[in-house]
């Protein structure tokens, strides 16, 4: 693989960039693979990369219905953080954050991981109790997360309105300085390029239509729009469509898919230095390298596989954004869109074996999938290779819904009393 570097770019500049080769190969599918990964998003492509890099398994195909990164990888607001509450969550998100920190160098692809800090605003006594619980838990787990006074919060994010007269005055904030953002497309492309370079087959525009199983019940391959492709192991990581794919193997999951909406403003000169989140008023905002304000909105209330949603979801979020940052009322929304998120009852992901032999699943990342990409992919690769979960992912298994061992990050945020 041609190494990317400033020198390579300079050399190509001299000759009109004629020398660049495709970032990944687009081969015809083989008859059979050791592993077929269903879903060409960051998680799937990453898992393929780590299978090849760390487990020496290279007879692998990533099968994507549309185009690489066309699902939630390319539709999210790219927030990265690891300041979760429960051990199971901290384990996987911190593992992920550590990988983010070296990802550009590991992949030789600039994914623009930008640790500009993620600040979560506290608006009342209850928020404060909840966030400080996070701060303490994170500290003892070895994760950076600190409590800021309102003034410290404003110093870190000058556009913030910390006046006491605000409808929901800010009484502090939790800041994870290592949190930030990354370039979503680059994550998919970088993994695809590095995986392809290690022999992984990347097959786009290939829809999985069925999962074939042998007499012993174990999987034998997938029926696709390009015909049957054999596989010793099948790993499903098709966010937004996991229920549909898994149903092909008669596996029912505790998932419901709902549209999650987001929007960007017109590009403007740098004004917003970090990522700000406010759970109480439902606002998530940062500014992209192009200058757009990137704003995460909420989910629609009903199951849907359409990547669109209602205008009221957008306006509800902008209400909050303009309350926190009154100077943004004259800013313009340039584009809104939606992605399909697979949500579990406890809002934590599922990664593990399934009742079907040699069929593995990675799903239910809800609205948090992007930040988990490298960690999830890395641990998913371990699961696929070893047939059992890595200890950092051992809490995410499917059986918890039977035993009641839920990892309820949502409930832990509790409710106002």
């Amino acid at each position: 693989m041609r190494k990317y570097s400033v020198f390579a770019v300079a050399r190509e500049a001299m000759r009109g960039h004629k020398g660049w080769e495709p970032q990944w190969a687009s081969p015809e599918p083989r008859k059979e693979y050791d592993v077929i990964i269903v879903g060409g998003g960051g998680h799937g492509l990453g898992a393929a990369y780590y299978l090849a890099k760390e487990h020496g398994i290279t007879n692998v195909a990533v099968i994507e219905k549309g185009w690489l990164g066309g699902g939630n990888t390319g539709r999210n607001t790219t927030i990265i953080r690891s300041n979760y509450l429960y051990d199971e969550s901290m384990d996987i998100y911190e593992h992920s954050l550590k990988l983010w920190e070296g990802l550009s160098q590991d992949l030789n692809y600039n994914v623009m991981y930008s640790p500009r800090g993620v600040m979560m605003l506290s608006h009342n006594v209850h928020d404060k109790q909840s966030f400080q619980r996070h701060v303490h838990a994170n500290r003892l787990h070895g994760i950076d997360n600190e409590w800021l006074t309102p003034q410290q919060a404003k110093d870190y994010c000058p556009p913030l309105d910390i006046s006491a007269t605000a409808r929901y005055p800010i009484n502090g904030a939790a800041l994870q300085r290592r949190g930030g953002t990354a370039r979503h497309d680059a994550v998919a492309w970088g993994y695809a390029r590095a995986a392809s370079d290690r022999g992984v087959h990347i097959i786009q525009n290939c829809e999985v239509k069925g999962i074939r199983r042998g007499p012993d019940g174990a999987v034998t391959g997938v029926e696709t729009s390009k015909g049957f492709i054999g596989a010793r192991k099948i790993a499903v990581s098709a966010s937004g469509h996991n229920s549909v794919i898994m149903a092909m193997a008669d596996v029912k999951l505790p998932l419901h898919s709902v549209p999650l909406q987001a929007l960007v403003s017109e590009p403007m000169k740098p004004i917003f230095p970090c990522v700000v989140m406010s759970n109480s008023v439902h606002a998530y905002i940062s500014q992209s390298d192009k200058g757009e304000l990137v704003i995460g909105a909420g989910t629609d209330q009903y199951n849907s596989y359409s990547q669109t949603g209602g205008l009221q979801i957008i306006t509800h979020t902008l209400d909050a954004i303009c309350e926190l940052f009154p100077m943004f009322r004259r800013v313009k929304m340039m584009r809104q869109w939606g992605g399909i998120t697979d949500n579990t009852p406890d809002r934590s992901a599922i990664q593990g074996v399934t009742p079907v032999q040699n069929l593995f699943v990675n799903c239910g990342w809800g609205t948090g999938g992007f930040k988990a990409t490298p960690g999830s992919a890395h641990l998913f690769a371990h699961l696929i290779a070893k047939g059992e979960p890595h200890k950092l992912a051992s809490g995410l298994t499917l059986d918890r819904f039977r035993t009641g061992r839920l990892i309820d990050e949502a409930a832990a945020a509790a409710v106002a009393h």
Binding site: Y4, S5, V6, V9, A10, G16, H17, K18, E21, S26, W67, D87, M112, S114, R116, N124, V125, Q129, Q132, R133, H134, H136, L140, R167, Y168, E266, P267, M268, K269, P270, V281, Q287, K290, G291, Q307, G310, L311, I314, T315, L318, I321, C322, P326, M327, R329, R330, K332, M333, M334, Q336, W337, R402, T403, G404, L406, D408, A411, A412, V415, H417
Partner: protein
């Protein structure tokens, strides 16, 4: 005169009515009705902006919202400043201040222009390949540089003083676009009697009639016909005509978002007027008459100021009376551009030549060109241009090579053909279909009740457009049950039918060339960038878009998408439909946040709920805290008191004398009906059959999964009537939860639920002197301990008004909760206060309430529990009926992980050093020296300084807590480790004798 390039006798503006504005500090004259673009052009200004990446000088390309180059900063005053405004859309008003963007120090000399020289280095996607070493430099060095270079306009820095309005509206037929097609459709629908809303983004209706002078409808000049028709429609009571209004989003079930610009064109707007008005329209049927947008030609250096769309030049001449140049060239691939040349020529402008890359231009226009003596170079192309800040010449060559000839010009008009505006159609989730014959994407499969008419539907020809519009209007009216009115008929005539058109790169900009032939102007995407993307394996149009940023600028690809596709299809050698089209997303053009939130700001952002006693509390110095939507009195500091002092005083006073507390925000639900008790049995863990009328019980409600959902004291008023209380934040969801089970699981039960949260003002009076305070105010209730024991409820009168008086306590003291109809709350509170104060009682807030209940180990759901806690974890086993065979949560409670050893249980914590108050949320460990990640046993849920105990107290969820009584555990803080002892949760009056005090 308002500008040297204004041609007397041309255009529709009134020379007398002038307005003054400044551009980059220089003052210019304009005519009323001018746009910023037309006014600048009238004054000979073409250089208006700089491009995003290369900072190339840019001029005015279009006369509409598709403008990618001429984006300016417009302000009325410091706080009313709007970046990224489209100069061809923004109308001039007297005194407006216009500034160019993305340049430093000046528009004419921009340091950023260096990027243009460096451009070979900045090829598409270059940043993915570099800036990776050294590791830290991306964040510290490269990224800040890139961010600063990007970003166009400067964000507003002051709060927007303007206000915005909103309106929900319904109609039978919504017509988007008031050109020939839209007006015809609206007219037919309106005449049939349908409720019609007609919207157009321009100040006046007419669409293409703004520039096309050759059109006659019913013998009338086209533009005049349009205005007359609009006037007629406005006069009809079943029609609403909205101009300066953009249909920006087409959502589910024919829900369409409109934004109406109300004051941005006014010099001195009435302060009452909203700046913009958001219309949320639900239409039974929608007619899309959104027209089409002219494409530019893709050739070397096609971006110099002075190079613009042919139809734009026509608009500036025929509507604004402005000649965009004195010696213009035309470069086209279709007939429509010829008419621009004709109009300019007739207006006295020199037309250097019409360069047509087709061998065979349309007969009609060719003949007319000859007649007017305009040189037509068929089969030729413009292969390059010159001119630093404005185009000065074009070099023209025969197709397929040959020497280029340079022709001096001061403006170049181009047209590659027309792109139907299928944006709204696509937003409606309709599927477009590619028409290979004309090289256009047209509405294919419809997903909602709408129809496209006119050029957005690929309909060419005036008469055909009129008839399609009329037919659609009539059809949609009929579909909504309106058949009135006679048949509307209109006849139109115009000079020429247009043929031709191309997509993709032209001569000299093809494969293997490295010239800058711009596809997306604003984002500086050239034909070669598209090809590079393909070379690097980006074969999906979405990949190409994201890799090159083609179509991602503020115009969202209105001009660039089709060219980008064509260039990709050429190198991939796959026909256009196989490569696909990027998704069209709302909004059609950018919409201000202000319009979208409209009224939701300040007091109307989110309702602040206040209790009937709020005014009294405010007057008595209460500090408030937000609990859900409620503002609750937190504590009542006296002069000089800190929060700590005040809370200590309040705590002391309640236990030594008494305290008065506003408990109105607690949720209340009245459960009424013969099966009320049975329903309560199913909703709560407790048993309710044995509860006698007049008595109360503390109840716990679970979710089906066995975790605590809510709690509260329930009073039984009679056999068939319960007064249920919930947590403050829980009230709405508990009501919903109960209704859910009642309606869908237990519909056989004869019981009804009514929320009475706000019917009652609730005043808690707690403490040894509580009864003494209340007794004189009560009528018809025997207050003696025997007649009215702890956990009872009585109905009677209080201060002469009906009351539900509860004998209950959340403090551990003898106490009462006085419920009176809300409007009496303040008066009753004052009456109680009048007796309480002299007896040494105080008013106390939620903080003191929290401390006092913690001293007794009473939990607060949502603070001491978090949705993962069972009644057993919370030491509330006594409240879970062992007899019942069913209640919500009964099965969830039995799941393996909910009954296993070592679950987190609620216990008390006492710090070894009684002066140390733990931090709520602090984590607890057994071994303070364990390296990270440490094993956390649980966390502190409640922690206070207890004045009554003279020490700190705390409650905590601790793994296996019940079995750890007396154990020493540790709370590691950043600066120190705090040793604590596990204890029970009752810190005051363990026997509970004071309750009956």
């Amino acid at each position: 005169m308002s500008g040297a390039n204004r041609i007397a006798g041309q255009g529709r503006l009134t020379p007398a009515r002038t307005a003054r504005f400044t551009f980059d500090g220089k003052t210019f004259d304009a005519l009323e009705g001018d746009t910023v673009a037309s006014a600048l052009l009238a004054n000979g200004v073409h250089l208006v902006g700089r491009s995003f990446k290369y900072h190339r000088p840019r001029g005015i390309l279009s006369a509409g919202p598709e403008e990618p180059n001429a984006l300016v900063d417009v302000s009325r005053d410091a706080a009313r400043r709007q970046p990224n405004v489209r100069a061809p859309v923004q109308e001039v008003f007297d005194g407006m201040k216009v500034e160019s963007q993305n340049r430093f120090p000046s528009l004419a000399f921009d340091i950023g222009g260096i990027n243009n020289l460096m451009s070979p280095f900045f090829a598409a996607g270059f940043y993915y390949k570099t800036f990776m070493w050294p590791k830290a430099a991306w964040e510290k060095l490269y990224e800040p540089f890139i961010r600063k270079a990007a970003g166009l306009g400067v964000a507003p820095t002051e709060e927007d003083p303007d206000h915005y309005a909103s309106r929900y509206a319904y109609c039978d037929v919504l017509v988007a676009g008031a050109g020939v097609a839209g007006l015809s459709a609206a007219l037919a629908a309106a005449e049939a009697g349908a409720r019609v809303i007609l919207v157009d983004e321009q100040p006046e209706v007419g669409g293409a009639l703004h520039y096309d002078l050759s059109v006659k409808i019913d013998g009338q000049n086209g533009y005049d016909w349009a205005q007359a028709t609009a006037a007629k429609l406005k006069a009809m009571e079943n029609v609403t005509v909205l101009t300066r209004t953009t249909a920006f989003g087409y959502y589910n079930h024919n829900f369409v978002g409109l934004v109406e610009r109300v004051t941005d064109h006014l010099a001195r707007p009435d302060r009452k007027l909203p700046r913009e008005r958001l219309w949320q329209v639900r239409a039974k049927r929608v007619i899309l008459a959104t027209g089409s947008i002219e494409r530019h030609m893709v050739f070397a250096n096609n971006d110099r100021p002075g190079i613009m769309l042919a139809s734009a030049a026509r608009t500036y001449l025929n509507h604004f009376g402005v000649a965009v140049g004195r010696k213009v060239g035309v470069y086209t691939a279709n007939d429509s551009a010829y008419e621009a040349a004709f109009d300019l020529k007739r207006a006295g402008v020199t037309v250097a030549a019409i360069v047509d890359n087709r061998e065979k231009p349309g007969e009609g226009v060719l003949a007319e060109a000859r007649k007017l003596g305009i040189e037509v170079l068929a089969g030729h192309s413009v292969v390059d241009t010159k001119g630093k800040l404005r185009v000065s010449s074009m070099s023209v060559a025969r197709n397929g090579g040959g020497s280029a000839r340079s022709i001096p010009i001061d403006a170049l008009l181009m047209s590659a053909g027309w792109t139907p505006s299928v944006h709204l159609f696509s937003q409606s989730r309709g599927k477009v279909a590619y028409d290979a014959a004309t090289g256009r994407f047209l509405p294919g499969t419809y997903a909602q009740d709408c129809l496209s008419v006119g050029s957005c539907n690929g309909t060419d020809g005036l008469q055909a457009t009129i008839e399609e519009g009329l037919a659609a209007g009539e059809l949609m009216a009929r579909a909504t049950g309106h058949e009135g009115g006679g048949k509307v008929e209109l006849s139109g005539e115009n000079a020429f039918e247009w043929t031709g058109g191309m997509a993709g790169s032209g001569e000299g900009a093809g494969v293997d060339t490295t010239v800058k032939a711009f596809v997306d102007f604003q984002n500086d995407v050239c034909a070669k960038d598209i090809r590079l993307a393909v070379r690097e394996g980006m074969h999906s149009i979405e990949h190409i878009k994201r890799f090159t940023t083609n179509g991602m600028a503020t115009d969202q690809g209105k001009l660039s998408n089709i060219h980008g596709l064509a260039i990709a299809s050429e190198v991939l050698n796959r026909e256009i439909p196989k490569i696909g089209l990027t998704t069209f997303r709302a909004p059609y053009t950018p919409v201000t946040f202000g319009a979208l939130i409209s009224h939701s700001r300040g007091d109307l952002f989110d309702p602040a709920r206040k209790t009937p006693m709020h005014a009294w509390e405010e007057a008595h110095g209460a500090v408030f805290e937000d609990v859900g939507n409620w503002k609750r009195a937190w504590y009542y500091p006296r002069s000089g008191e800190t929060m700590h002092d005040a809370v200590n005083r309040e705590c002391r006073t309640v236990r030594s004398a008494a305290g008065v507390f506003d408990a109105s925000t607690l949720g209340k639900i009245e459960v009424v009906g013969p099966d009320a008790a049975e329903f309560m049995n199913l909703m709560y863990t407790n048993g309710w059959d044995t509860l006698k009328p007049g008595r109360c019980r503390y109840g716990i409600m679970l979710r089906e999964d066995g975790f605590i959902y809510d709690d509260g004291v329930v009073g039984r008023l009679s056999e068939d009537r319960f007064h249920v209380t919930t947590t403050t934040g829980g009230a709405p969801r508990v009501m919903h939860h109960m209704e859910d089970y009642l309606q869908t699981e237990f519909p056989h039960l004869k019981v009804w639920l009514t929320s009475t949260t706000e019917q009652w003002a609730v005043i808690a009076v707690q403490g040894p002197k509580a009864r003494e305070i209340l007794e004189p105010l009560v009528e018809g209730i025997d207050m003696s301990n025997e007649a009215f024991p702890h956990m009872s409820v009585r109905e009677g009168k209080f201060c002469g008004v009906p009351t539900r008086l509860f004998r209950m306590s959340f403090t551990g003291e003898a106490g009462y909760e006085v419920n009176v109809p809300a409007d009496y709350g303040e008066a009753v509170w004052e009456a109680i206060w009048a007796r309480a104060e002299p007896l040494g009682a105080c008013a106390y807030g939620t903080e003191t309430m929290h401390v006092l209940r913690a001293e007794k180990g009473y939990i607060i759901v949502g603070q001491d529990t978090d949705g993962t806690v069972t009644p057993y974890d919370a030491s509330l086993a006594w409240a879970v009926s062992k007899k019942k065979t069913d209640f919500v949560g009964i099965r969830g409670l039995k799941r393996p992980d909910l009954v296993k050893e070592g679950r987190k249980q609620l216990v008390g914590l006492l710090t070894k050093d009684p002066k140390v108050v733990l931090e709520e949320g602090a984590q607890i460990v057994a071994d303070p020296n364990e390296p990270k990640p440490m094993t956390m046993l649980g966390h502190v849920t409640s922690s206070y300084w207890s004045e009554n105990c003279g020490r700190s107290i705390a409650m905590a969820l601790v793994a296996g807590g019940q079995a750890r009584m007396g154990q020493t555990l540790y709370v590691p803080m950043p600066d120190r480790t705090i040793a604590v002892e596990v204890s029970d949760m009752v810190f005051v009056d363990k026997e509970g004798g004071r309750l009956n005090g």
